[in-house]
Amino acid sequence: MKNNILVIGGGPAGLEASAVLSRMGYNVILAEKEKRLGGHLAKWDRLFPDQTPAKEVLDGLLDGIKDVKCFTETDVNSINLLDRSFNAMLSNGITILADAVLLASGFDMFKAEKKEEYGYGIYEGVMTNADMEQAFREGKTFSPAPKAIGFVHCVGSRDEKAGNPACSKVCCATAVKQAIEAKELYPDANVYCFYMDLRMFGRHYEDLYLRAQKSGIRFIRGRVSEVSETAEGRLLIKAEDTLSSRPVKVTLDRLVLMAGMRPSEAGHKVGRQLNLSVEEDGFFSARDGFLSLQKSKLPGLFYAGACTGPKTLPDTLHEARSAAMEIDRYIKENFRK
């Protein structure tokens, strides 16, 4: 008889781990709270560093889960650990007895309206990175064509006032990618990136940055302090240029806020039922930070992806595969002796 594995979360980590576990011969049940699978990836247009269409990656992930039982629009109403297995009641009325659980609850986007000074939800021209991706994905163009567009890095990240001193890891590369795409769409527009440090750490990320500079995107090292609206309805941005040690004012038509990653509230709901520990940043705490990254402190409960902290998509997929292997080892050691 096949062992049941419950995967909570149908984003990239949940999908990839489900596919690997399914190929290993397990009976995988995936519960996703949203209507569609794919998590944030399903809402994205193109991916850094090479602008691969997000749909291409998502389709590849979905191809791998043909033998997985997927329940969308389904919450985990309750979950508890019995003797060796987990008993989970789903919101669709189905009860699952799983020998292992993979928590792949991902992340929530930082609510950009919390940075009140940036005027998200107040000024028409202020949008988030997710809004920008949606516009790209839907082929929506702004009319009249913007003359100036700004990107603010680190919105809700590396910001103690916002309750998150940590870096969200993907915003710099996303901002540079979106800035390039905006410049391609509106070649006459002046495009600015307001950054603290550019954390272009991955392979080909630096190439992306160089490409942005060559295409005329202006990088201003400093934080935006406030946003307001001019009499003409444009956005007036006050920021600091820390390289020239001067305050700057720029008038823009669009301001894109790079909202960072926050722990998933849906993930926390599951975590609270199982007494899973979280670290100071609110993300789940792995058994240790080197050798047991995919293991929780609870036997049979594993993690993959951004539920243990901000990660890039490739890192998330690596973790998903690694978690699947850890689950396989756990099942073999505990259920097949």
Partner: protein, 354 residues
């Protein structure tokens, strides 16, 4: 501008403001700058709305000007404040309302400091007993007088004789609101509407028929900023702050400015004269300035007080064009007469500012 977005933020920053029974403390400088504002506040709250607002001649300065000029130790300021609170307690009140924004900010800062460092609070309580033989107490509710007028704004609207509406066009007056920096910038949760989009004055203006104008330098300091003005060599900086605000609001063509701080109406009003005389530039219509009011003055105007009883003749920028726009009657011959009919004298006419 998405008004609904602002409403969401306002909903998050609501503070509890009791309806009645307050111990009132005045500002050190408002009685000189805007002499009728505090008297109008007391008249409206006590006599028009029937509220219990108590004040005593025994209260003093809060020490805020000295504190923000770095000339007084913090423990001394805290002991002064403890004495004010002790007087409130002595007279049987637990709700404290202050006229001054600087005081309000300092009271908030002091109470937060005491909350965080109880040993310091204990020391201040001992200082208070040694120096004044008064029992240490803290207000149950601390509010600024503008919070209270905000609370009563609909009651004031119900008794109003005029609306903030242009009588010739029927359009709402375009009003710029300016919040004192120490109202909520230090402690956003202590102000109605928070720090970025404060609602305290917006609520009054909306209730009384006007329309708020948002402009880019809305959050900027009026120019007082204590050391910017108190140190003579810094005064150009004070003026440039005010100039920046007026240049920013000019394209929005505001009819008037409303403020809730002692220094702000003074600097926004007086520096318009200096800008006009030095640059020949005026920001109102037809060579006039943009009139600047305290919230008590605006409440008094809509309730039908005589403009000269509100002390509007002490403003640098003439208020008559606005009074005409609203349709508020006034007697030009009585502008410079005191309450007893005695001639007060007239200021020299500026060359540029009408």
């Amino acid at each position: 501008m998405i008004y609904e977005g602002k409403k969401k933020i306002w909903a998050e920053y609501q503070k509890e403001i009791p309806e009645d029974h307050y111990f009132y403390v005045r500002s050190c400088i408002r009685q000189s700058f805007f002499p009728a504002s505090e008297a109008t506040f007391l008249d409206i709250t006590r006599n028009k709305l029937g509220k219990d607002i108590f004040e005593t001649e025994h209260h003093t300065t809060c020490g805020g000007i000295a504190y923000h000029s770095d000339t007084i130790p913090q423990e001394t300021v805290m002991t002064i404040i403890a004495r004010q609170f002790a007087l409130m307690h002595k007279y049987g009140y637990e709700n404290y309302v202050c006229s001054c924004i600087t005081s309000f900010g300092l009271y908030c800062e002091t109470m937060e400091t005491w909350r965080e460092f109880p040993e310091l609070q204990q020391k201040i309580a001992e200082n208070l007993w040694k120096t004044c033989h008064l029992e240490f107490a803290k207000p149950k509710f601390l509010v600024h007088a503008s919070d209270l007028v905000f609370k009563y704004r609909m009651q004031i609207a119900a008794k109003s004789k005029f609306k903030l509406v242009n009588k010739n066009t029927g359009e709402p007056l375009r009003v710029v609101e300016h919040i004192g920096c120490h109202y909520s910038k230090m402690f956003p949760s202590k102000g109605v509407g928070g720090a970025e989009y404060p609602y305290v004055l917006v609520g009054m203006i909306e209730a009384w028929g006007g329309q708020i104008v948002d402009y880019p330098e809305r959050r900027h300091c009026c120019g007082f900023g204590f050391r910017q003005y108190l140190i003579k060599s810094n005064r150009g900086y004070s003026l440039s702050n005010t100039h920046k605000k007026f240049e920013s609001m000019e394209p929005f063509k505001p009819d008037m400015i409303i403020t809730n701080c002692p220094g702000c109406p003074y600097f926004l009003d007086r520096w318009q004269y200096v800008i006009a005389e030095t640059e020949g530039k005026t920001y109102g219509e037809n060579g006039h300035g943009i009139p600047v009011f305290t919230y008590e003055e605006v409440a008094g105007l809509v309730m039908g007080y005589d403009p000269w009883d509100l002390g509007l003749q002490t403003h640098q920028v003439s208020v008559e064009p606005l009074l005409d726009k609203i349709g508020i009657p006034y007697d030009p011959a009585k502008k410079y007469l005191g309450k007893n009919g005695k001639y007060l004298g007239e200021p020299q006419k500026p060359q540029c500012l009408k």
